[in-house]
């Protein structure tokens, strides 16, 4: 078939567009890899030590990894049970006519910029924690974790609600017809269908928690130290993202410190990408909607 000129131009335009759109992510990965190469080759496994002290040439990122994992665990321990129980209510108990309002509310809540959560964290949450535990400063790992839990809650609720809502009504009806109570209907007829999507939702939430920057940066205290004792979350800490947010712009491009920071970013990116891609491709695909 002979193509007209406009068809040929059109086709090359759309082809270039898809190439650019899909290549950007690879470009970002490549840039991070190139720029962290210096750290990888010069410091080697030493990056996974616990001391970050640029003046002494020590670039250990363990404290930041600890911080990221700690806030993630705190945030998810709060947000997962709370979010799923709430979703159960909105999807299974709440009359359908209110659903639209609840969903819109959640969507608005999920849209509040993270910097504003950070402001609320500084003004209220960290002060409350300071007073409640009688600390010198409330800017602690715990504050970061709780704030992240609140931030990620709308996402957990709305995605779990979708997962439950997408289970065909016939299964509920059939189970009810056998004389099961709502709790049993949920447990035996609805959850087995929704569990995959809920798992996907939780993976997305996990990625979001790990990658969140501004709010955590403002409330976590920004000290590059692993707490002693190990599980004391009432001390200030540092996550990968808060470290990057605070220091990358002040670090000289091309220095070993810059490279070590980029390496942290690469590590973060690889994990978040793994969670996101796993969630979107293997678990969560109703209508292929996007959630950030």
């Amino acid at each position: 078939m002979v193509m007209s000129a406009s068809a040929r131009v059109g086709k090359s335009y759309v082809f270039m567009s898809i190439i650019i759109s899909t290549a950007i992510i690879l470009l970002i990965l490549t840039f991070l890899l190139i720029n962290s190469w210096q750290a990888i080759s010069e410091i080697g496994w030493g990056v996974f030590s616990s001391e970050w002290h640029p003046a002494a040439g020590k670039f250990g990122i363990l404290a930041m990894i600890y911080g990221s994992v700690a806030v993630m665990i705190i945030a998810l321990t709060i947000a997962i049970p709370l979010g799923i129980m709430t979703a159960v209510f909105t999807a299974e108990v709440l009359p359908a006519k209110y659903r639209f309002y609840v969903k819109s509310m959640l969507e608005l809540l999920a849209g509040i910029p993270s910097i504003i959560y950070g402001l609320i964290g500084i003004v209220f949450l960290s002060v409350w924690i300071e007073d409640f535990f009688a600390l010198q400063s409330g800017r602690t790992i715990l504050a970061g974790g709780i704030l992240l839990a609140i931030m990620v809650l709308p996402t957990v609720i709305t995605l779990s609600d979708d997962a439950l809502h997408n289970v065909p009504a016939k299964y509920r009806e059939a189970a009810r017809g056998l004389g099961l109570y709502p709790y049993e209907v949920l447990k035996s007829a609805v959850l087995p269908h929704a569990v995959n999507d809920i798992a996907g939702a939780l993976l997305l939430a996990l990625g979001r928690v790990l990658g969140e920057t501004m709010a955590v940066m403002l409330v976590i205290g920004s000290i590059d130290r692993i707490p002693v004792p190990f599980l004391n979350t009432l001390l200030p800490g540092q996550t990968i993202t808060s470290k990057l947010g605070r220091e990358i712009a002040e670090t000289a491009f091309g220095s070993l410190e810059f490279s070590a920071l980029i390496f942290m970013g690469l590590l973060l990116l690889v994990f978040v990408l793994a969670f996101t891609i796993l969630a979107q491709t293997f678990f969560y695909q109703p209508e292929q909607r996007l959630y950030e």
């Binding site: 016939k170 509920r172 017809g177 087995p192």
Partner: protein, 266 residues
Amino acid sequence: MNATAPLKIYQPEATSAIEMRDFNAWFAEAHILRDIRLSFRENRITCLVGPSGSGKSTLIRSINRINDDVGNYNCSGEIRLSNQNILASGNDVAKLRTRVGMVFQKPCVFPTTIAGNVLFGIRHLQKLSRPEKQTIVEENLKAAALWKEVKHRLQDKASSLSLGQQQRLCIARTLAVKPEIILFDEPTASLDPLSSRAIEDLMLSLKEKYTIVFVSHNIQQARRVADDLAFLCAGKLIEYGSSQQLFSNPTQEKTRKYLNEEFCDC
């Protein structure tokens, strides 16, 4: 309409299992069922017939109150089961549904094994030992005329069965809960003729032990299976009587037309 109320003509000789008194139902503003007075006889098969939108499904789905969970549904009147009004508020609907089982239009098997589906309801009602489970699975699959076909693959996925087999599995699952009454909401609507026949035979064999109410679009099927017929039109009960009488000698012109598959303007 009470002047021609068919209930006065028809006197059921067997005791009735369910009685509906002045039953009305609405979806939002739409008045779906009007002043229904009906009594379903014990150990008989009663078939509800009528054109689409006549309220048959709403009626049958009211008997185990499964409509309660549908938005905008409202009803008034009484439905009496062993002399208690099941519509009374505070009644435990879950318990009611163990007494009044239901088989739906489309077979709906749960994503578990064949045996797991049979046990799906009953295992919530009582603790079962392993041999008890085996007995329940076998007994009910036999009662549902499915045992021969699946006895060697009880641990297979239920979704691997054909649609007709799935529907019989749904019946077995309902029987396992030991209901007194079973409601069939167009159970053969999505099945091929041969599978439909299997379900019909099954219903006939079940009526010794259970009271059966079913909805059908298929008049020939009603003729084959039903002891009693109730003809509904536009939310009203037009005529109710033994199947034989309604087919041979209906009192209402509408009934005669509908049962003869002629055009019926209601």
